[in-house]
C-alpha cells in the first residue's frame, strides 16, 4: 500500500507557502547549506556542554548519546495553537475527573459507559488507591499528550501520558539552543516564550500540597538515579524549580510523615514530584524487593501527609485500552463535545476487530496495550511479509494485549538532513499542568522521524527533536 502524500506544514500541494512559515521559508531560501551545517555542529557542541543526553535501552553503543536535534523549527500559528490548547485543557480535565471517579464512586462504570472489567481488572488500576482522597482531586498533575496532524485542520490525539511523561526538558533546551544559534530569526518573529515552564510547574505542585501543610510547601524531585534514561531531565527540572533532587534513600518516613535528610537535620517534605514508577515506590506496599523507593511512603500518602505527583494509579487513564473511551469521558463528565479527535482504534480482544486487523495488517499500526516508547509495535506498511506473519502469531496468541490503528499520514516539516532540507514526519507532545487551575506554556516537544519515509518518531527508534514555535498574534 502506498500512503497518501502527507500534509506538509510549510508547503501546500500547489507549491504555495503556508502563512505561518513565510518568514522561515524565505530564510531557508537565502541561507546556504554550509551555513546550516555549521550551525548544526554548533548545536551539537551546545548540547554536549549542557550535558543533555539520553540512554537508549537495548541498543548498546554510547549510553551518553545526544538525541539528534534538527535546527529547523516547526511553526504553529496562534489560531492553530489556541484550538489545540482548548482541546487539551478539556481532555486533561476529563482525564483527571475520570481518575477521581474510578478511585471513588465509579459512576462512569455504573453508567455502563466503560466496562467495569476493563478498569477493575486492569493492571494499571491500583486497588491500593481506592477511596484515597488527593488534594484538589488532581491525579495527573503533569500530562503529556501525544498529537499528530494529518491535514490543515486535522489534529488527532495519539496517546495520553498521565504517569510520568518525559521530554519537557528538550522543549526548554531546544529553545535555549535555538535562541543562541539564530538570534536574528527570533527578532523577526513574534514567538511565544516557554521559559516560564519551571515556575508554572512549581506553582502547580505547591497548589496541590496537603491541605494541612503550614507555610510554604517543601517540594522535591524524586529520581530513580543516574542510571535512569531521563536522569538529565530530573536534575534539570529540579534546577529549574530551585528545589532538591533526591533519591529514595534521601527520604524517610517518621511519625506518619515524609522527611528529607539534610545537613541541618530532617526537613519535612510536602510535595514529591516523583519520576519513579508506581510499583517501585514503596517496598512495604508494592514490590518488596524495590530499593528505589521510600519504605512506608504509601502509608504517609494515603493518610494525606504528603502529595505525590503524579498520583499513584494515574496510569489507568492512559492505558491504551481506556484511550478509546476518552471522548465518552469528555461527554460524560463535562457534557461537552470533544474538541480533539481520537484515532480510530481496533480492539484486538474483540473477535470482529481481530479478524479485520489480521486481514489488514499491511495497512495498520499494531501496538501492545501496555507497551510504551515505540517498543514492540508493528508498522504494517513498513514491515516485511515475514515480520507481519510473525506479528500475526503474537496477536493470535494474546489478542487482548493489542490494539491497532490505521497508519496515519503524519504531517511533515522541513528538516535539515544529509541531502539538504527535506520534509520529514513529525508528532507533537505538549504538556498540560493541572493544579487549582490548568496551566500550559505555548509550546511542546516536536519529535521528528529522521529517516526518509519513517513514521516512528521515538528517540529510542532513531527519532530526533525540533524546537516548536507558537506565533503570537
Amino acid at each position: 500500500m502506498v500512503l497518501a502524500k502527507a500534509f506538509d506544514e510549510m508547503t501546500l500541494a500547489g507549491g504555495a507557502c503556508r502563512d505561518a512559515y513565510k518568514g522561515l521559508s524565505q530564510w531557508l531560501q537565502w541561507t546556504p547549506t554550509d551555513f546550516l551545517r555549521m550551525k548544526r555542529q554548533e548545536a551539537d557542541v551546545l548540547f554536549r556542554r549542557l550535558g543533555i543526553t539520553f540512554a537508549v535501552y537495548g541498543e548498546g553503543g554510547d549510553p551518553e548519546r545526544l538525541i539528534p536535534f534538527d535546527i529547523i523549527p516547526r511553526v504553529l500559528s496562534a489560531p492553530e495553537w489556541q484550538r489545540m490548547e482548548d482541546g487539551l485543557r478539556q481532555r486533561v480535565k476529563a482525564l483527571n475527573m475520570f481518575l477521581n471517579d474510578v478511585y471513588h464512586d465509579q459512576e462512569i462504570l455504573k453508567a455502563g459507559i466503560i466496562p467495569e472489567k476493563l478498569v477493575l481488572n486492569n493492571s494499571s488500576y491500583l486497588p491500593e488507591m481506592q477511596g484515597v482522597d488527593v488534594p484538589g482531586n488532581v491525579y495527573s498533575h503533569i500530562a503529556g499528550i501525544d498529537m499528530v496532524r494529518v491535514g490543515e485542520d486535522d489534529f488527532y490525539v495519539l496517546e495520553d501520558n498521565c504517569r510520568t511523561p518525559s521530554g519537557v526538558s528538550y522543549m526548554l533546551e531546544n529553545r535555549e539552543v535555538m535562541m543562541r544559534l539564530f538570534p536574528a530569526l527570533f527578532a523577526e518573529h513574534r514567538i511565544a516564550p516557554v521559559d516560564s515552564y519551571g515556575d508554572a510547574l512549581l506553582d502547580t505542585l505547591k497548589e496541590c500540597a496537603p491541605p494541612k501543610t503550614t507555610g510554604d510547601p517543601t517540594v522535591v524531585v524524586l529520581t530513580p538515579g543516574i542510571y535512569n534514561s531521563a536522569y538529565f531531565e530530573h536534575s534539570f527540572l529540579a534546577d529549574q524549580m530551585g528545589v532538591e533532587l533526591v533519591e529514595g534513600p534521601d527520604l524517610f518516613v517518621d511519625d506518619g510523615k515524609v522527611f528529607m535528610r539534610t545537613t541541618q537535620g530532617p526537613q519535612k517534605v510536602d510535595v514529591i514530584y516523583r519520576r519513579i514508577d508506581d510499583t517501585f515506590l514503596d517496598p512495604l506496599t508494592f514490590d518488596p524487593n524495590s530499593v528505589l523507593g521510600v519504605p512506608g511512603i504509601m502509608n504517609a500518602y494515603r493518610s494525606g501527609q504528603v502529595t505525590l505527583a503524579n498520583a499513584v494509579g494515574a496510569g489507568i487513564a492512559d492505558d491504551k485500552a481506556i484511550y478509546t473511551y476518552v471522548p465518552d469521558m469528555i461527554k460524560f463528565y463535562l457534557g461537552e463535545e470533544p474538541i480533539l479527535k481520537n484515532v480510530p482504534t481496533y480492539k484486538c480482544g474483540e473477535a470482529d476487530d481481530l479478524a479485520y486487523v489480521l486481514d489488514n495488517l499491511a495497512e495498520l499500526v499494531v501496538k501492545e496495550v501496555h507497551g510504551s516508547g515505540g517498543y514492540g509495535m508493528l508498522v504494517g506498511p513498513a514491515a516485511s511479509k515475514q515480520e507481519r506473519e510473525d506479528y500475526a502469531e503474537r496477536l493470535k496468541a494474546a489478542p487482548d494485549e493489542f490494539i491497532a490503528q490505521p497508519t496515519l499520514a503524519l504531517s511533515t516539516c522541513p528538516t535539515f538532513v544529509e541531502s539538504g532540507v527535506a520534509p520529514r514526519h513529525v508528532d507533537f507532545r505538549p504538556f498540560v499542568l493541572s493544579g487549582k487551575d490548568i496551566r500550559m506554556v505555548k509550546g511542546g516537544l516536536t519529535r521528528v522521524a529522521l529517516r526518509d519515509g519513517s513514521l516512528v518518531v521515538n528517540s529510542s527508534q532513531g527519532g530526533g527533536t525540533k524546537d516548536t514555535w507558537v506565533l503570537e498574534e
Binding site: 472489567k117 481488572n121 486497588p127 491500593e128 488507591m129 512495604l284 506496599t285 518488596p288 519504605p295 502509608n299
Partner: protein
C-alpha cells in the same frame, strides 16, 4: 470469646539505625466477631500513626528512628466470636465483585493451576464448587512448615506440592478466580480445637469466596473447614501482600533473630 496475646520480637546482631513497619494487626467487627478490647503496643509513648486502607484494614506505621537492637510488637485483645458457618458480612466494601477476579503476582495462574481449577466438575452449585476446590487444592499441597516463604507464589507452592496456610489460601484464591468466583485473602488468628486437621498455626491465613445468595464465605483451606468461632479475622486483601500482618524494613542491624509467640485461647466470660 477468644483471647489473643501475640508478641513479635526482633533482635539485631548489631544496632540498627532505623526500622519501619506497616502493621495490619487490628481486627474489625463483622457478623461473626465483636471486638471487646484490643491494644497494639510497640514500646513507645507516642501514638502510632494509622489509617484505614482501601480494604478497610486499620494500618499502623511504626517507626524507630534512632539506634536500637531490638523491636517488640505486642498485640493483646479479647474478641467475642460466633460461628456463622463462615458467612461474613463485614464493613463497607468499596470494590465491585469483579475487582476480586484480578490476578495478582502471588496468585497468578499458570497451566498447572488452571488444570487444577478445571479438574473440578462443572454443573454444581457455586458453594459446592468452592468446597470441591478447597479439597482439590488441599489434596495437592501438603502442609509443611519451612518450605515456602512469604513471597512464594501459588504456582510455586503447587509445583513443589507443599506449603503453609498462606500457600493454601493463595492456590485456592487463584483457582476460584479462574472459575469466575471472586476471592480474597484473610489473615487472622486461630484457636486450637479438636476438630482441626493436623494443622495448627496460631497466626493463620485463609480465603474468602463470594458465593451468590450467601455473600462472602470463608474457606480455611489448610484445615478443610469453613471458619468458625475459633477463627479471628484481622485483615483482608487480594493476596498476602495487601493483608500481611507485618511488612517491615530496617537500616543496618546485621543478622536478625525473630521470636514470635502467639497465645490464642478460649475464655469463658465470667458471670
Amino acid at each position: 470469646m477468644i483471647s489473643v496475646k501475640h508478641e513479635t520480637r526482633y533482635r539485631y546482631e548489631t544496632p540498627a539505625a532505623y526500622t519501619i513497619q506497616s502493621l495490619k494487626l487490628t481486627p474489625q467487627n463483622t457478623s461473626g466477631q465483636h471486638v471487646l478490647s484490643w491494644s497494639l503496643d510497640c514500646g513507645q509513648d507516642a501514638t502510632i500513626p494509622s489509617f484505614v486502607d482501601s480494604f478497610g484494614n486499620l494500618t499502623h506505621t511504626f517507626v524507630i528512628n534512632r539506634e536500637h537492637s531490638d523491636v517488640l510488637i505486642r498485640v493483646t485483645g479479647k474478641v467475642e466470636t460466633t460461628d456463622v458457618s463462615g458467612i461474613i458480612a463485614g464493613p463497607h466494601d468499596p470494590f465491585p465483585l469483579v475487582a476480586y477476579l484480578r490476578e495478582t503476582e502471588l496468585t497468578q495462574p499458570n497451566e498447572a493451576l488452571e488444570d487444577l481449577a478445571w479438574s473440578v466438575a462443572e454443573g454444581g452449585k457455586p458453594l459446592d464448587l468452592a468446597h470441591a476446590l478447597m479439597a482439590a487444592v488441599r489434596d495437592r499441597i501438603d502442609y509443611q512448615e519451612g518450605e515456602t516463604q512469604v513471597e512464594t507464589t501459588a504456582a510455586q507452592a503447587l509445583a513443589q506440592g507443599s506449603g503453609v496456610c498462606q500457600d493454601h489460601a493463595h492456590a485456592f484464591i487463584c483457582c476460584a478466580r479462574v472459575r469466575g468466583i471472586p476471592a480474597r485473602y484473610v489473615s487472622g488468628y486461630l484457636q486450637a480445637s479438636d476438630n482441626m486437621d493436623e494443622v495448627y498455626e496460631a497466626g493463620h491465613a485463609w480465603a474468602e469466596a463470594y458465593i451468590e445468595d450467601l455473600g462472602w464465605v470463608g474457606f480455611d483451606v489448610a484445615n478443610r473447614i469453613c471458619p468458625s468461632e475459633s477463627h479471628l479475622r484481622v485483615a483482608v486483601g487480594l493476596d498476602y501482600r495487601e493483608a500481611a500482618p507485618i511488612r517491615g524494613l530496617r537500616l543496618g542491624g546485621g543478622a536478625e533473630k525473630l521470636d514470635v509467640t502467639v497465645r490464642v485461647v478460649q475464655e469463658n466470660i465470667q458471670q
